[in-house]
């Protein structure tokens, strides 16, 4: 079609020559792609976040230094946080819309349903939305606890205090509600990733007989590392530095 007026009928994106982009984002595969990409980038964040947080085992000094070093780069940090929020919201938004779409496509449910995948009784993957939702709950509480500092019961130290990062984290980790939610969140996040990690590669079209089996194994290991890593912080750190 060379008639430009005809193209404009498809709206602003059309006029900008971006209707293809709209088509991409509204297609099932485009959405999957974004889901996978955001998921993997969030995984990248998790690795960095876990590495930083493992410093809690090393004690107040190293952790506070790390935290202050991070905060001194505030422009970068703001950018990263903004990026994370976008990734996260995109991931959650698509999770909700595709799950609704998928539910509608199924429409009717079998009276009896059994998996045909050898050895599978209930797979982690049928619970991606459920596990994601638990993670979402965990993340929200986590942000309330530590990013926004909204829970007065935790008795936050003011930010100017050099000890604040460590003390405040410890306060949150010692709170019974947070402990339970964080612990569950970490485990469920691991479950989410044990399927999600390898699945994202499939969604991105990255599949190869030589590498895919490896990616699948790495995905499982990754899930375990994330779960055990974060959960161990919840379990051990408060006791170590009481």
């Amino acid at each position: 079609m060379t008639d430009s007026t005809a193209q404009c009928k498809t709206g602003l994106l059309g006029c900008l020559g971006l209707s293809w982009f709209f088509r991409l984002l509204s297609s099932s595969i485009g959405q999957k792609f974004v889901m996978g990409l955001t998921g993997l980038l969030l995984c990248g964040f998790l690795v960095a976040h876990l590495a930083g947080n493992l410093l809690l085992f090393a004690g107040a000094e190293p952790f506070n230094h790390y935290a202050h070093a991070l905060h001194s780069q505030w422009e970068l940090l703001a950018l990263a946080e903004f990026g994370l929020v976008v990734l996260f919201l995109a991931h959650v938004y698509l999770a909700v819309t595709t799950t609704i779409g998928n539910y509608r496509a199924r429409r009717d449910f079998y009276v009896l349903k059994q998996s045909k995948v050898p050895g599978r009784i209930i797979g982690a993957n049928s619970w991606m939305f459920a596990s994601g939702s638990v993670v979402l709950g965990f993340v929200i509480l986590h942000l309330i606890d530590l990013r926004l500092g909204l829970r007065s019961s935790l008795h936050y130290l003011p930010e100017e205090n050099f000890e604040a990062p460590f003390r405040n984290t410890l306060a949150a980790l010692s709170d019974p509600i947070s402990r339970v939610v964080y612990f569950l969140g970490a485990i469920i996040l691991g479950v989410h990733l044990s399927h999600g990690f390898a699945s994202a590669f499939q969604s991105l079209g990255l599949n190869h007989p030589k590498y895919t089996p490896l990616i699948k194994i790495i995905g499982k290991i990754f899930g375990v590392i994330i779960a055990v890593g974060f959960a161990s912080i919840v379990v051990f750190v408060p006791g170590m530095w009481r």
Partner: protein, 257 residues
């Protein structure tokens, strides 16, 4: 492995009965006796239907034709599994030796928004035809073809194409998927034609149009559970879906279509 002598089974069948697309449906219970383990699953249903006719009840409608596992016409969900318990097997090729005396077997039609029920165990799979119609072909008019050996196709490429082309269009992938996704079916055709030199000219257009139609027909998205691959009688591999994703993104981002 030598054939085990055949036995006779008495079974309880719970079958989805539905008089028409708009009528309500439900499971109905029937008893069949003396089913030989050498029978195919459909032959067992034949026996039931003869019994129903004799007693004046309308026989159970189920789709079938070749009874050889190739036409893709048959297909029901048996005890919650599309095409029953055997892997790489269509309903017509499933044999009763897979069952035991006294078993209860629940038989339901393919369920999906895109596959409305026609009657009993028969569904309307014409959405698959419309997906192929959107681009699952090579545009070459009769008489236009060059000599067959002009373009060489390496053995392994041919094998990949053949493995993908083996899809029988039965719809078990959709039926078994919690999202009623048709990705395995679509990916089989896209991979088949994308891997061959003859499919190159329309490679981008094909995948864009087929996926657009797939979405418009209300199939769900893929969440990589692998249920389709496990249910597929033609053993179409999940790797085709990865290829579909790749083909689609390449076409969406890089082609002029």
């Amino acid at each position: 492995m030598n054939h085990v002598a055949s036995k006779n089974l008495n079974l309880t069948l719970k079958i989805w009965r539905q008089a028409g697309p708009k009528q309500p449906g439900g499971l109905k219970t029937y008893q069949v006796r003396g089913i030989s383990t050498d029978m195919s699953f459909l032959e067992m249903l034949d026996v039931l239907n003869e019994q129903l006719i004799a007693s004046g009840e309308e026989p159970v409608a189920f789709d079938h034709d070749c009874r050889e596992g190739i036409c893709g016409t048959c297909g029901v969900v048996i005890n919650g599994q599309a095409h029953g318990p055997d892997s790489g097997t269509t309903t017509c090729q499933l044999h009763m030796r897979r069952f035991h005396d006294g078993d209860t077997i629940v038989i339901e039609p393919w369920l999906a928004k895109a596959f409305p029920i026609v009657r009993d165990l028969i569904v309307d799979r014409s959405a698959f035809d419309r997906i192929i119609q959107a681009g699952g072909f090579v545009s070459v008019n009769t008489g236009n073809a060059p000599e067959a050996n002009t373009t060489l196709v390496p053995h392994h490429v041919q094998q990949d194409a053949m493995n993908a082309a083996a899809c029988i269009g039965c719809g078990a992938c959709v039926a078994s998927c919690k999202n009623a996704s048709a990705m395995l079916f679509v990916s089989a055709k896209v991979s088949h034609l994308a891997s061959l030199p003859q499919g190159q000219a329309e490679r981008s257009k094909r995948v864009l149009n087929m996926v657009a139609t797939m979405d418009a027909e209300h199939f769900g998205n893929c969440t990589n559970t692998g249920e389709c691959e496990a249910a597929c009688p033609a053993k179409i591999k999940l790797s085709n879906i990865a290829q579909l994703n790749r083909e689609y993104m390449k076409a969406a981002l890089l082609s002029k279509e």
